[in-house]
């Protein structure tokens, strides 16, 4: 296992990049801790695959360096980097049995037969394929094949890191739970450095110790799931994480007061003078739908009953406002107003979070 350092790393697919827009990946400095599980999360085209390909060595960055522990590997081939990779679609040898597929990376490295047998049976136990070890891979379902790919990715103990590129895309929702749990348990047990690329927030948040959120070639925030949820550093993070995402309302902020539409809210913090676009962010989970006479009146467009809660879709001051309501709450016609949990309000200046001073 290794610590991976990105030093002034950037990449442009254009020969002579002139401005920021020419970069698929903008300048990035980051250290991936040894033994931690990371997720790279963002929409398609955000640069997450570019970054993963640089780490794996498929792509040489146009700027900056990449280090495994203290060794510069920027120009090293993938095969010399000692990493394991799991891709979107299962990569297994159809003519080999499950057992042989799992043994393959170890045999290739000339490992001792006794060690191989021990190691393979321990991985087989973890991913729960013990009962199909002697089956040929070609007869397996897509789910099972992807399990084998995951197992093969984890079988070597001496790899610097394991990279996962959207490995659960082809898997049915109910199987995703099982595979994710197994991955998570394996990480707890083996402490590999893992980097998991996905556009699915649930996958990213549930898998990783730390999530790296990317948008248009830029890392906008690195944090624990809780940090991303409670204190999104950028309005994009607020929008991208959470279903529905954070509500973003145009605001004017003066000291500890925020004006949204025609209403003034008293904030928990006091802010310096803000320039440019000022917005107030509040998650649907931290709002309450209430009776007239309290809070702020909104126009309710519709109410969606989505399993364990309801989503109230509304408009206020030309913006969409979503409020999450508990499944047991009965919504009456007179519940037309919203209130905010003021301790959960964030203020943004030109889309970036600003920290106020506690009053």
């Amino acid at each position: 296992m290794a610590r991976i350092t990105l030093s002034d790393l950037a990449h442009s697919y254009v020969q002579n990049p002139k401005n920021e827009k020419d970069y698929a990946l903008r300048t990035l400095n980051h250290e991936w801790e040894d033994g931690a599980a990371y997720a790279l999360l963002g929409p398609s085209g955000c640069g997450k695959s570019t970054l993963l390909n640089i780490i794996s060595g498929i792509l040489t960055p146009s700027h900056g360096r990449i280090l495994f522990d203290d060794k510069d590997v920027t120009f090293e081939e993938t095969t010399d980097r000692n990493i394991a990779q799991v891709f979107q679609f299962p990569v297994v040898y159809d003519t080999m049995t499950v057992q042989q597929n799992l043994e393959f990376p170890l045999k290739n490295r000339g490992m001792d037969a006794k060690y191989i047998s021990q190691r393979v049976s321990s991985i087989a136990r973890s991913i729960k394929v013990e009962d199909i070890m002697h089956k040929k891979a070609q007869g397996l379902t897509a789910d099972q094949k992807q399990k084998i790919s995951l197992g093969r990715g984890m079988v070597r103990e001496d790899v610097n890191a394991i990279l996962f590129d959207e490995p659960l895309t082809v898997i049915d929702p109910h199987m995703k739970w099982e595979l994710r749990t197994q991955l998570k348990a394996l990480h707890k047990e083996l402490k590999h450095t893992m980097i998991f690329v996905t556009h699915d927030q649930t996958e990213a948040l549930t898998f990783a110790d730390k999530v790296v959120v990317m948008n248009v070639g830029e890392v906008v925030q690195i944090g624990t799931p809780q940090e991303l949820f409670e204190k999104p550093a950028h309005t994009f993070v607020g929008y991208f994480i959470g279903s529905p995402g954070m509500n973003i309302l145009e605001a004017e902020v003066h000291g500890n007061h925020a004006l949204i539409g025609e209403h003034t809210l008293k904030l928990e913090h006091t802010y310096k003078a803000l320039k440019g676009k000022v917005e107030l962010g509040i998650r649907p989970e931290f709002m309450t739908l209430c009776e007239e006479g309290r809070g702020i009146k909104i126009e309710i467009e519709r109410i969606e009953d989505v399993a364990h809660h309801k989503i109230v879709r509304a408009r206020y001051n030309n913006a969409n406002v979503n409020i999450i309501v508990d499944e047991d709450t009965i919504i009456t016609d007179t519940m037309t107003n919203m209130t905010f949990d003021m301790t959960r309000v964030n203020i943004y200046e030109n889309s970036w979070l600003v920290e106020g001073e506690k009053i």
Binding site: P43, S44, A142, D172, P173, H174, W177, R180, T181, K184, A185, K188, H199, D200, Q201, T202, L205, T206, F207, P225, Q226, L228, F229, E230, Y239, F240, I241, G242, S243, P244, G245, R283, E285, E304, D305, V306, A307, H308, R313, E327, D328
Partner: protein
């Protein structure tokens, strides 16, 4: 307009793909086929489209038998997972293509293209090429083409599966609004329960080639009439527990005995399955009417606002969903509570005995 499947079944090489199915779909409705991979969703859609002829049974369109009628001769449209547009044509021409094939007049085409584009929020993009659009817009362009020819039946086979999570979320919310106006019959296949809930309309839950329930979406979710439907229409899956009712008590686990109240009260003596959703397992007691468990916690997953608990209890694997970030020790014992009002009671064979009382008034 109506589409009716009468005693339709489909077998391929002696293997049943669709068991005897009766289904009646009405004009202007959204009908979701919800089921796991290989449950028969695509097979059923191909039969509805006329791409495949069923082994037995009839397909009626407005009461007229169309079984065996060629797909070209039916007024239907189908959209696949992998969305398809003509790359060299503008969005306008992409949408216009089916009408040009039908040799419609320029005026008619222009009117219909603009109307459909506005419905699909593509009015600003009519002069662009598909590759200049985002993934969501590209799929909307494909959807517009399926709507423009005024098909009476529009079949959508997992149309959002290849889109980014966040785009999917937005389109899911938009699709019902966009389709309400068109008046066609929509059939929409998906593997995801959340998607079915957001689309609304009706849902048919599918399991191994059988429709297990067909009704209004919210009703199927809140009042599943069998354990299979409950399992299919729950993500993560519904949890199950075997218990025995004996006189005033219910017995479960190794040595738990609780007074039979609420849903358990009027049950006849016997062995049953209790079914409950992940979000109804709780870490704290809220009232007296509860069951208590000592489960074995294997792994937790934290989403930022909630925590998923993966655990085992007796021979069952359960998933729990609790509020907040819970920092719990892996491989430890965990005390859990379940409010009796959240319990569905099923027979051992899966048929429903009692709907959970909290669901009754929905």
């Amino acid at each position: 307009m109506s589409l009716e499947l009468q005693n339709v079944s489909m077998s391929v090489d002696g293997q049943m793909h669709i068991y005897n199915t009766n289904l009646s779909l009405k004009k202007g409705t959204m009908n979701v086929l919800l089921g796991r991979t290989s449950s028969g969703k695509t097979t059923l859609m191909r039969i509805m489209a006329g791409l495949d002829v069923p082994t037995s049974g009839k397909i009626l369109w407005d009461g007229k038998d169309v079984t065996g009628m060629r797909v070209q001769d039916r007024k239907i449209a189908m959209v696949y997972q992998q969305f398809i547009n003509y790359p060299s044509m503008t969005v306008y021409e992409n949408i216009a293509a089916p009408l040009r094939l039908m040799k419609k007049s320029e005026d008619f085409i222009d009117k219909e293209v603009r109307k459909t584009a506005s419905l699909m929020r593509l009015s600003e993009m009519l002069n662009r090429k598909p590759q200049e659009l985002s993934g969501g817009q590209q799929q909307r362009c494909a959807l517009a083409r399926s709507l423009v020819k005024g098909s009476g039946l529009v079949l959508l086979d997992e149309p959002l599966a290849n889109l980014d999570y966040k785009l999917r979320e937005e389109l899911r919310a938009e699709i019902p609004k966009m389709f309400e106006e068109s008046g066609a019959i929509f059939v929409y296949a998906t593997t995801e329960p959340e998607e079915a809930l957001l689309l609304g309309g009706n849902v048919a839950t599918l399991w191994e080639g059988k429709i297990t329930q067909f009704d209004e979406t919210a009703k199927v979710y809140h009042k599943p009439n069998n354990a299979t439907t409950a399992k299919v229409f729950s993500n993560p899956s519904m949890n199950f527990l075997t218990f025995e009712k004996k006189d005033e008590y219910i017995y479960y686990g190794t040595d738990h005995k609780v007074l039979a109240k609420d849903v358990f009260e009027d049950l006849e003596n016997g062995v049953y399955q209790a079914g409950f959703r992940p979000n109804h397992l709780e870490l704290k007691v809220k009232n007296d009417l509860h069951l208590h468990f000592d489960a074995h916690l294997e792994v937790t997953e934290i989403t930022g606002s909630e925590t998923f608990l993966h655990m085992s209890y007796e021979n069952e694997n359960w998933i729990g969903l609790v509020h907040g970030v819970q920092d719990l020790e892996y491989n430890s014992n965990l005390s859990l509570y379940l409010d009796m009002r959240h319990v569905f009671v099923f027979q051992s064979d899966g048929s429903l005995v009692k709907t959970a009382s909290y669901s009754e008034n929905r």
